[in-house]
């Protein structure tokens, strides 16, 4: 079930607008406002960038908080004091 989300997100964000764009450019009487399309693409890509960036940055922040040595839950790693650092 989880694997279906990736293609759905890609279709919504990229494929559908691209198809609309292509057909709009070939349909008589319609024209493409390039500036609008480019800015739309920009905002879509920034949405993706912020979502992915949020996940990565959130992971880094969580790791910094969770695995810092002053965290009460921190445990010595198996490699300490063995010269394996």
């Amino acid at each position: 079930m989880r694997t279906i989300w990736a293609p759905i997100i890609l279709i919504v964000l990229f494929a559908t607008p691209m198809i609309q764009l292509v057909f709009a450019s070939e349909t008589p009487g319609e024209y493409v406002n390039r500036a609008q399309e480019i800015w739309n693409l920009f905002f879509r890509m920034m949405t993706i960038a912020f979502v992915v960036g949020g996940v990565i940055a959130g992971t880094i922040v969580w790791q910094v908080w969770r695995f810092r040595e002053s965290n009460p839950k921190a445990k010595p790693t198996p490699y300490e004091d063995k010269g394996d650092l």
């Binding site: 480019i38 693409l41 920009f42 960038a49 992915v52 790693t77 490699y79 300490e80 010269g83």
Partner: protein, 513 residues
Amino acid sequence: MVLTLAKPRPIWQIMFSTHHTDVGLMYLIFSIMALFIGGAMAIAIRVELFAPGAQIIADAMTFNRLFTSHGTTMIFLFLLPSASAVGNYLVPIMVRYKDMAYPKLNAIAFWMIPPAAALVWLGMADFGWYANPPYSVISAPAPAAEMWIFGLKILGISSVLGSINFVVTILKCKHPDMSIGKVPLLAWSFLAASTIAIMAIPTFAAGLLMLLTDRLGATGFFNPLVGGDPIAYQHLFWFTFHPEVYVLVIPAIGMMYEIIPRFSRRPIFSHSSGVFAFVLLSIVAFASWAHHMFATGMSFTEKTVFMVGTLAAVPASAMHVFNFLATMWNGRIKFATPMMWAVGGIALFFSAGAGGVVNTAMPLDFITHDSYWVVGHFHLFVFGTIAFGTIGFFYYLFPYVTRRMYNEKLGVVHFILSMVGASLTFFTQHLLGLYGMPRRVFDYPEIPEWIAMNQIISIGAMIILVGMGIFLVNLIYSSARGKPANMNDPFGLGGKYYYPYSQLNPHHDKAGY
């Protein structure tokens, strides 16, 4: 090798030494000096742009000279020598060899840099660090342009000599018991970066020679007045200098590979994926140069090829980031100064990479091209990633160089100020670009949003300046008066992990070396 300010070694002994740690020390001191000279130029630029109209710089020509020298200084005289400093100190130790493969050549490669720097700094050319024709051929004033060209020629030769030395040292001089797969990732990063440099730099060397003969009137390769093609120069330039970005970033990532496992108290998650990602980046470095030139009238097919080539760097870069995150996972992380810089560098690396994806998407490139977005992206990359990794490693190397400890509190303050300053400066530059402000301008119209954002950027730059001032004080004071370091475990991590060599007077002929 050991820099003791309290009882210093005779300076000539260091200057005429060919020992890798002495050459490393000279690279280190020179690169820090260049960082402050280039930084002073950056501050002058930011003070000038704090408000519309001329502030402290008399005219646009002087402004152009400043930003040209700033860019040239930071890239060729700070970042490249700082990587060489680290490589000289550690690559022979990591491959368990007595020195670099060619010690005299190593010293010569360093000593080519000061005269080249003098040419760049005394000439103060005005055509940007890219020297694009037709301006650089037809109008750029002499002798500044010629001095810059000769300076860059010398720096290019120095880089190639240094790179050959790294490649030979790693491949031919490593200990017989050490297979190439066991070479530490920092040494691998120097192998990858040096290979790129050897392959990329000759192209620009040819371009510079053609530029010079064009300026002398002997040829017209790039001069449109006699049928030359200015775009051809851009191809030669970017064929060298897009890979050069990787020459700078790969060693910085290698430095993070040294810091992060140590301070996480865990071995690196995947050594082989780090090697694979370095090799992959070395290849795709050559598949993306023309993404800098989407606005020069390239065909759709050409642009598509280079867009895809650029995007190929994303998975390789992501492999490094995930390798770092997986290494930190389940660790017991000590957030000493080097680790803070490394983790901050990863966060900004990711942000810079996201901006790069936008730049390389063809339609979006036309929004951002030649705007402050590009300035923000580039600086987030070179300062937020490369300089963060490098400065963090300078702190890590400090006990090795001086046998003393730096002041930890000052190091933390330096990091916090730099992180805040870099975020304010470079993220705001992205936004300023989206608001339409072009790059490389001396003055700008009184648009309220532009003024506000320029002032935020300048304040961010001042915060970085304060941090760098603290860095300098910390370096000098701690070199003389810092607490003596425990050379087995200077950072109190437990275990013996630090680099073994710490002789006071290194000479090749001394017993016990």
